[in-house]
């Protein structure tokens, strides 16, 4: 297990140094500005759509940083070397995806709801939105990893990654939003969170399998 811990530590260190969290936050802010510019500054309207916009911002920001999970290690030969150990490649891949969540997905999930105050988000909803985004962002990072792995060897992958991963994001978005706004409809609260949790758990299993298979196809 020391191998995987060493990898996780390195990924966290690299992620915080060159992770692109700053750029992702910038993207989120840019999106927030564009919304009232395109829809008008009517606070009542903004308040209604704010949770949805923040979720869209979160998932797009995570998606756009998905390349960095595997791209560099793929190109500089590190991934090759990582297959030459007794540690299962799936665990290695899981460690990398989790590190991405820690350094990008999770921070964005923490920052997005308060940024939503700029869109007049209902402040009493903040705790539920936080909880939903924390859970959902895990699934988002795991699914983004699949996108990164499947396009690892490709040059102009980013648009293709979006096309491949956005359909996978649909269930996360639907239940994420439902959970986020469930303080208004308490009887849907527990089911939404439960399903969101289930989806996140599923991605924790499926993502390493799919990523390992895809990366091996590119490495061989």
């Amino acid at each position: 297990m020391n191998s995987v811990t060493a990898l996780l530590m390195r990924e966290l260190r690299l992620g915080t140094r060159q992770g692109g969290l700053g750029t992702a936050i910038g993207f989120l802010l840019a999106l927030i500005v564009l919304v009232p510019l395109s829809l008008g500054p009517d606070l009542a309207l903004l308040s209604r759509i704010a949770p949805g916009i923040m979720w869209l911002g979160l998932l797009l920001a995570v998606l756009l940083t998905s390349e960095q999970i595997f791209q560099q290690d793929f190109e500089d030969g590190s991934l090759d070397l990582m297959t030459m150990t007794a540690t299962p490649f799936e665990l290695i891949v899981l460690a990398k995806a989790l590190a991405h969540w820690f350094t990008v997905g999770l921070p964005l999930a923490l920052l997005a709801p308060p940024l939503g105050l700029m869109l007049n988000i209902d402040a009493t909803q903040l705790p539920t939105i936080w909880a939903a985004m924390l859970l959902g962002s895990l699934a988002l990072s795991m699914l983004a990893a699949i996108g990164g792995a499947v396009t690892a060897g490709l040059r102009r992958g980013s648009l293709l990654v979006s096309l491949l991963i956005l359909p996978l994001y649909v269930p996360v978005l639907i239940f994420g939003i439902a959970a986020s706004t469930s303080s208004l409809a308490p009887d849907t609260s527990l089911p939404s969170f439960a399903i969101l949790l289930a989806i996140a758990m599923m991605t924790l299993v499926i993502s390493p399998l799919a990523c390992a298979a895809a990366l091996k196809a590119y490495l061989r």
Partner: protein, 199 residues
């Protein structure tokens, strides 16, 4: 320990690179791989490292620890660096020491005179220094089989000397090495294998 390859073939991108290749490598031996570009030297090294699969034949490492694949007992140093520019040299080697298991960073730094710049970020390195950092991995973690793809490229005379020293020690301790190179390595017991490009 002995590496025995029988009748292996290699295919990349649907094209047959070589086939029917057989050789034996005993403990303490160095096998020099020669051949024109495209003949398959890199492919062969990657194949032995487990990074490609052979469509035919067998490759066996005799008297190896049980439950260990050839990959786990090999060092592969190819054209790519596997260095992270955001980390220092020490941090780079430290990672491989922990990841590959039981590594000693000091040995790696000493082997290629990297102590002086050990705590500088790797992005400041010249290409020769980057190469030395990659090669330092050989000294950090001990693995019996070395697969080196043109290791001397970009190295100055002094560093080539260091590499030769490292190789000699490795071989004298019973290690094995397969090296693809255009240059001559200063090692006594050498076998040669020349790959010919397929028509």
């Amino acid at each position: 320990m002995r590496l025995i390859a029988k009748d292996i073939s290699c295919e990349r991108g649907g094209r047959l690179i070589f086939e029917g290749l057989s050789f034996t490598l005993e403990a303490g031996e160095l096998l020099e791989l020669r051949g024109a570009n495209g003949a398959g030297k890199s492919s062969l090294l990657r194949l032995i490292a487990g990074l490609n699969q052979s469509r035919s034949g067998t490759m066996v490492l005799e008297d190896a620890p049980p439950d260990s694949s050839v990959s786990e007992l090999s060092h592969y140093i190819g054209h790519a660096d596997a260095n992270k520019s955001a980390l220092t040299l020490r941090q780079n080697l430290d990672f491989w020491a922990k990841f590959l298991g039981n590594g000693k960073v000091e040995h790696g730094l000493a082997a290629f005179d990297l102590d002086a710049i050990a705590d500088d970020p790797a992005r400041l390195l010249s290409s020769g220094q980057k190469r030395r950092l990659s090669l330092a991995r050989l000294a950090v973690v001990s693995r019996p089989l070395w697969l080196l793809d043109e290791p001397t490229v970009g190295l100055d005379q002094n560093s080539v000397g260091k590499l030769n020293e490292l190789l000699k020690t490795h071989l004298s301790e019973g290690g094995m090495a397969l090296v693809a190179t255009h240059a001559d390595l200063d090692v006594k017991t050498k076998k040669h294998l020349t790959l010919k490009a397929r028509a």
